[in-house]
Every structure is written in C-alpha cells, then in structure tokens.
Amino acid sequence: MNKLLRQPYWFVALLGLSLSACGGSGDDEISPDPIDPVVTYPSYTSIVALGGDTTTFDASNSGHGFSTPSLNLTADELALHLQGDTNFEVSFTTAPNDQHPELDGLGPVFNNADCNSCHQRDGRNSTPFLAADETRVKLGSAAGIFLRISKAPAEPCSVGTADNNYCAPIKVPDFGDQLFHRGVLKARPDWQDNAFVGQADVYLSYERHDEVYADGRTISLKKPIFAVENPYDAPGETKQSANVTSNLLQDDVLMGWRNGMPVFGLGLLEAIPEASILANVDADDSNKDDISGRANWVFDAIKAQNGDSTPVSLGRFGWKANTPSVRVQSLGALRGDIGITNPLFPDESIVGTSLHDSYLTRTGFVDTGEDVNGAPEASAEFSDSVVFYAETLAVPARRNVDKTAVREGARLFEQLNCSSCHTPSFVTKTSGDIGGLPMSDSLKGQTIYPFSDLLLHDMGEGLADGRPDFLADGNEWRTRPLWGIGLTQTVNPQAGFLHDGRAATLEEAILWHDGESKTSKQDFMALTQAERDQVIAFLQSL
C-alpha cells in the first residue's frame, strides 16, 4: 500500500502541528530526515482512543482493561451500568430457591451458571487444558466453551422466509441448537448415576500440526476435537456404539465449538450505520481482490416480538454474525447458556423436549419462572441492566503507539492487506435505536476503531466447522474486531484466540488464516522474523 508514499511537505507540517498539540513525539516526528526516505504510516497508526469518547485510560494496561464503564455516561446511565455489572456476575441457582426466588431457574440444563464464567473479566473464557496424564478433558464448570448443534440441511438456504424459519439452523430433535453439557442435580432421569450432567457428556482433545517458516522456525498449531457421549436419550451410548439410537449421535448432526467473546464496545458496534457495513460487501468479489465480504441476514427476535412481518435484520454479533443486536445476543445467552428465561426469550430453550418434560414431572413443575404462572425467570429490570452493561463497557485505550515496532507493525498490517477485512474505522450514527430502544447519547457520533467489517468471510477448511448459520456457510466466519486484542491474555492468561480458542498466541491465530485471507497469511510468513514481530507488536498495542 504505497500509493501515499510521497506526501507534500505542507501536509507533514500540518500533521506535526496537530500531534505536538497532543503532547506527542514533537519535532522528531514532523521533520523527515533529509537522507532517509519518508515512510508512510496508516492513518490509524497513532490513534489511542479506539472507542472515541467512550475509551477508558486508567485501566487500559492491566487485567481491568475490559471492565470499566464508558467514560461519557450520564449519572443515571452509570447507575444502570453498575447494576448490570452486579447482575453480570450473579450466579443463578436451582429452582426452587425459597430465600432468593429472583435467583432461581438455573437450567435445568446449561453451560454455565453466570455470565462471567464465559466472559472472564468481560473478556474471553479460558481455554480448557489437559493434565499431563490426560488425552482428553471432560467439559465441566470451568469450561466457557460449548458446542452449537444442528441438523444438516438438505440444500443450502439462501433466502430466508417464514417457511424455512429465515434460514435458521435446523434444531436437533429433542435437543435443540446448542448442546448443554451441564445440568442441575436432577436434570436427567438417570440423575443418581449422572448427577449434574446435562444433555450429554462432552470431551475435548487436541490434534496438532506444524507450520514452518522459510527461515525454519516452526510453530505447532492445535485444533480442538470433540467427542459427545452419554446422551440423555441413550445413556452410555457413543458414536462408536454398535447400534446408535440417540438423536444427537446421528451422522447428519453438525457440531461446532463456540468460545465466549469479549463484552466491551458492543453498543458502538451496533451503532455503526447499516449502510456503512453494507458498503463493504463484495459478495461476488467484483473488485477481484479475492476478498468478498458477505452480510448475514438473521432472524430478529425483537422484530418478531413487535409483530414485524419480516423479522430479519443484519447480523452483527456472534462468531458467524448470527445475531442482530446486543439485546438479542445477551438475552439469548441468558436463556441459552444459563437457562434463564427472560422477557425476550420467555420459553426454555429445551421446552418441549422429553428431557424438559421429564424434569418438570420429576421435580413437581418448579422450573416455571419467578411466579406460579411461569413469568420469565429474569425480570425486565434485570435483563435491561445486563444489556445496557454490555452496550456500554468502555473500549480500552491503545498502548505504546510511539514505539517503532508498533508503528512499523501498523505499516506492515496495511501492507499485508489485513485491513481489507479488519476495517479500521467507522463513525457511529447520530440518532436512532439499538436493540429496539433509543440509543444512549454516549454511543452517538463516535469515530471508532474496531478493526472489523462485521462481515462474513470464507476462512478456509482448517477453521471451518461445516455448520451453516442463517446465510453463513460452514467455512465462513465474521471478522473478529481487533480492538483490545492486545490485552486478551492480560485480562485472562488462559484465553485463546479464534472461535474455539485454538490459537494460544496472536501469531498462531494469523497462521490459521486461510481461504480469502490466504494471501495475507502467506505474505506474513514471507516476512522476516523481525517484521513478523512488528506485526505482533502492532496487534499487541490494540
């Protein structure tokens, strides 16, 4: 990207005036050496406030970097945010809880008992590890990862209609579209032999392969492999059983890992004008750069609840951009991951399955919400505060932007064409709703640097889960926003990268890029070790 290599000196002088006003690097920055060639850096090279006026600075170096409220909230908004903060950490309990009925309703099957467990310190969950004497690990209470499940469609779904459920994944009969490996004590009919087990046992192991640079440096990459056993509809059964009867273990059941994502800055992403995102769509690669970018159009529960005849919206959140708003994402997770019904999702995700029916019978129909009539388990107030919390967690400021390695890394990031998908900046809209409610002023008109186009891209077979999700096919993933990524392991040292946490480092994450990003990966691998380190230094500064 050298088209701006030569700039007129008046521009350089103006830039210097601007930067010196910010207490930047002073004259050295604005006076190019008359001998050395002038080097052009991307416009985002020196940007510190990635989240505009929402950016946080007093925790942006440490493990608290994802956990502070946006700095531009009103007093009332801050109070709501802090209430949401408290609720985000609430651990739900088995029903009935006579002392605290507002906390009961966990599950009966679930992946975790609180939000924080999958979004540790508001960041990613820990990658499960195997002890030295283990070849696989059974997912338990420490796992923030889970499996999405669905039946393979007869043919790809390309146009969402009411008849095809708007291309939503096809639920596995008697299970659903998410596998819950945990349960309350009596979740299963065979609970005395399978206490606290959910729909099935899930085991994780890893397979490895090497990537080798031209200079001989070798990186070992691990890929998570799952095994599902002991489903509730056929206890003890596995895929290797002589006669597989479980609905879950049929050959046409698709499964894919999902990790928890960082929670901060989400309101800003939702406040990006739809037209700004769609402007980057290039579904047929008309510019022939081998990078497409497709929008996912997904079922919108808010529109459906409001009676919209076409309840479909642009997908922005989730690993496959399969949810349209922070509200749908958050309350969907509250109902799905924890099993807490709420005003947007008033029915248990396993409602109508034989497991839920037998659980209700076994336990005297207590899992019916906060009152005898079965009102949602989480109140509107609880739900609203959690949604607002996720919308208004601050984006951490960048670090070390003056370091040479970081600045060179930004230049290389551009040169490698990473910014084609990791779109540096957007300006948020100045009015309108998010999640069906008026948008906070704190989110309006902000110049933000998420480094994502929020679109789907084919990332190749190595990363593929083969499982379509609305219009996303089995190879496609939404571009992951890069803001804050350098703090990932400061927030959680055990966190990994990519949708299933397989990459232990940013370098490993780059090496998993394929498909549309194959050229960028190859060009990265062709760099010298020092240059590769500079790219990583830039990413670490975000």
């Binding site: 701006l4 950016t55 801050l78 467990s117 310190r121 400061t490």
Partner: protein
C-alpha cells in the same frame, strides 16, 4: 468487575480524544518517545519483585500448606468421636481461610484463569443439592466431586459440614457429624488441597498447566515489557493491576459483602446473604480482605520487616497522601473489626441489631472513604509517573 468513574479518567479522555480519530495519514519517520519533564520518578523493580515474591507468592504458598493441613484435619474425623478433633478441623478451615481472603486483594492471573476462585469460594451454597447428595450417594471421591457444580464444593460446603447451619450457634458437636458428612468432607478437602496446590504451582512453576515451557506467573509479573511477555507490557501495567486490585476488593467488601446483607434498613436486612455465616467467620473474612490490601500497600505481611510496597510508589509522588492512605486502610480494618462490639457479636446478628447496624455503617463509611482515595488520588498517580 465493579468499577466507578474517576475524575482522572474524565480529564484524560478530554485530552486524548482530541488526538484520536483524525483519519489523517501519518507520514513520518519512526521515532522514540520523548521523556516527560513533569511528574515524579520511582524505580519500581524492587517493589514489584518484593510484592510478587514476599506477598503474593508467599500467600499462595501459605494457602497450599494450609490446604494440606485441612485435608489431614478432616481425615482425622473419619472415625473420631473426639470433639477436639472437630474443633481442630474447624480451626484448620479458619486458618486456610486467612490467606485466601487476604489474597482477594490481588485476585488476578491463575486464580481467575484456572477457575480456581469459583471452585474454592462459590457463594451461596446450594444446601438443597448438598442434602440430596448426602442422602443419595454411596461414598464420595474427589474426582467425582470435581465434576459437580461449584455450589456444592469448596470453602462454604466444608464450612456447612464443619460448623452446622450457623443460625443460633457455630459450635457443632462431633456426634452430629454423620458418616456421609465425614466422607464428603474428606473428599472436599482433597479437592480443595489439589486446587490450592495447582494455584501455588501456577505462580511458581508454570502458569499454563498444558505448557511445560510456560513461565511461572510470578515471573511474568516481575518481567513486564519483556519481548515474550504477552501479559504485562510495562511496569505501569503491573502497578495499575495492583492498584485496581485493591480498589476492587475494597469496593466488594463495602458495597457487596457488607452492603448486600445489611440492606437499606433493619427490615430489609437479609442474613441469608452473609458470607461465612455458618462459621460466624464473616467479620474475620472482611477484615482479612482489607489486611490483604494493607499487605500489598505496605509490601509485607503484618508485623514483617519493612519492604517496598505501593506505599513507596505513592510516597515518591506525595508523601502526605501515602501516609493518609495507610491511615485509611488501618482505619477501615479497625472499623470492620469493631462491628462485633463488646459482646463479640457475629456479623449476621449485628445487622439485625440497632447498635450493630450503627457500627456497620461506620465501617462502610470508612471503606467508602478508602475507595474514593484509591480511585481519585492514588490511581491517577500512574499518569504522573515517569516510568
């Protein structure tokens, strides 16, 4: 994570936002950063090394040792009919509780990333499921219990079995300890011992149990800015972590652990929310939390030889402030301990007593004052430090 605004944050964003978002191309040669000409100087290496080794690592090593002792004490109970054995196990539980609660002032790193905190200290306890398991299980073993939900294992499950329900007393008779309770208790203590050992290893051997080449977490804290250190990019990051850790626990004690059961009034007080209510150890827990803050601030455990702590960092910037912070920490500890009054009233009773509530409010006020000082006066020092 519960955090509030700080004045410095507002000031900083006003300044820095003027620098962001220009969209201009940045055409220049690489430069090295200029050295600030204002602010204060402090060489932080010794302080960080000392806090890591002599406070944090030493605390977790102590916890692991007390985890061993607790297991031994519970194993003694398997067939014992001697009340002194139960009292010894109760004391072993209280003893293990001390380094754990003091460690909550620096609850970052492996204790969080390895999910050791929820495994050890989930609250509230699920007494319904606990009783069901006691009634339905034939024997207990550690591996099985590790797969159970966190609300039926850890500190508080052991506390319930050791001390009883805590409503009217915290003195359980060994004759009331059933065989299944003893078996469950021993298995829980074994699980507890394993997790405390794992935490100790993570700080001293390898922070990633799956990677033998991973550094001890202590090493990562002591070598910020090293090219291979993806956790801490600078000494400033480490100090920011430590200060925010102190703020976090002061906030949690004042606005959570005490305020939640305390309620707005006597009629809304809720003893069911009192942590460590079975053992009546709540006030000891709370004061240990703030003693943990003092450990980090002073750089040594209470009564230890003077070593560098955050007080030295603050002193380099503002000696008066440094003294004031030390005084406010001590005051908060004393006010928490004073909640029990002259009759050694446990916290769950104090919040239902008019005088006890008045003393509790005094403690909350002291914690609020300390939190405000840490947020508004100490944390902003980071931006004045010529690191």
């Amino acid at each position: 994570m519960r955090f509030n605004y700080t004045a410095i944050s507002l000031a900083l964003v006003a300044t820095l936002s003027a620098c962001g978002g220009s969209g201009s191309d940045d055409t220049s040669t690489p430069t090295t950063p200029t050295t600030p000409t204002t602010g204060f100087s402090f060489v932080a290496t010794e302080m960080i090394t000392n806090l890591t080794d002599d406070v944090i690592v030493a605390g977790y090593a102590d916890l692991a040792a007390k985890g061993d002792a607790l297991l031994l004490a519970t194993q003694t109970l398997l067939t014992s009919t001697v009340q002194a054995d139960l009292v010894a196990a109760q004391n072993a539980w209280k003893s293990a509780r001390q380094p754990w609660e003091q460690g909550e002032s620096h609850i970052f790193g492996p204790v969080d990333s390895l999910s050791i905190d929820p495994h050890l200290d989930s609250w509230p306890l699920n007494t319904t499921d606990l009783q069901t398991q006691l009634a339905n299980s034939n024997g207990f073993d550690a591996d099985t219990i590790k797969g159970w939900n966190d609300d039926v294992q850890g500190f508080h499950t052991m506390e319930y079995l050791l001390f009883g329900d805590g409503v009217n007393s915290n003195t359980k008779l060994i004759a009331d300890l059933s065989t299944k309770e003893r078996e469950y208790l021993i298995a829980l203590a074994e699980v507890f011992r394993d997790y405390t050992a794992q935490l100790d290893d993570a700080w001293q051997v390898s922070h990633n149990p799956q990677d033998a080449n991973a550094k001890p977490y202590a090493e990562l804290l002591k070598t910020p800015g090293d090219a291979t250190n993806t956790i801490y990019s600078s000494q400033l990051a480490v100090i920011e972590e430590l200060i925010n850790g102190m703020i976090g626990i002061v906030d949690e004690v004042g606005n959570g652990k005490i305020a939640d059961p305390f309620g707005e009034s006597l009629t809304t007080a809720d003893t069911s929310k009192v942590e460590s209510q079975y053992s009546w150890n709540s006030l000891t827990d709370f004061s240990n939390n703030i003693i943990g803050v003092r450990n980090v601030y002073q750089g040594e455990f209470t009564g230890g030889a003077d070593k560098q702590g955050l007080i030295d960092f603050v002193t380099a910037a503002d000696a008066t402030l440094a003294t004031r912070v030390a005084s406010e920490i001590d005051d908060a500890i004393l006010k928490i301990q004073a909640i029990s009054g002259s009759t050694s009233m446990p916290f769950r009773q104090a919040i239902l007593d008019a005088d006890g509530r008045a003393r509790t409010q005094v403690a909350v006020d002291a914690l609020t004052k300390l939190q405000a000082t840490l947020q508004s006066d100490v944390l902003p020092l980071l931006s004045d430090w010529n690191s």
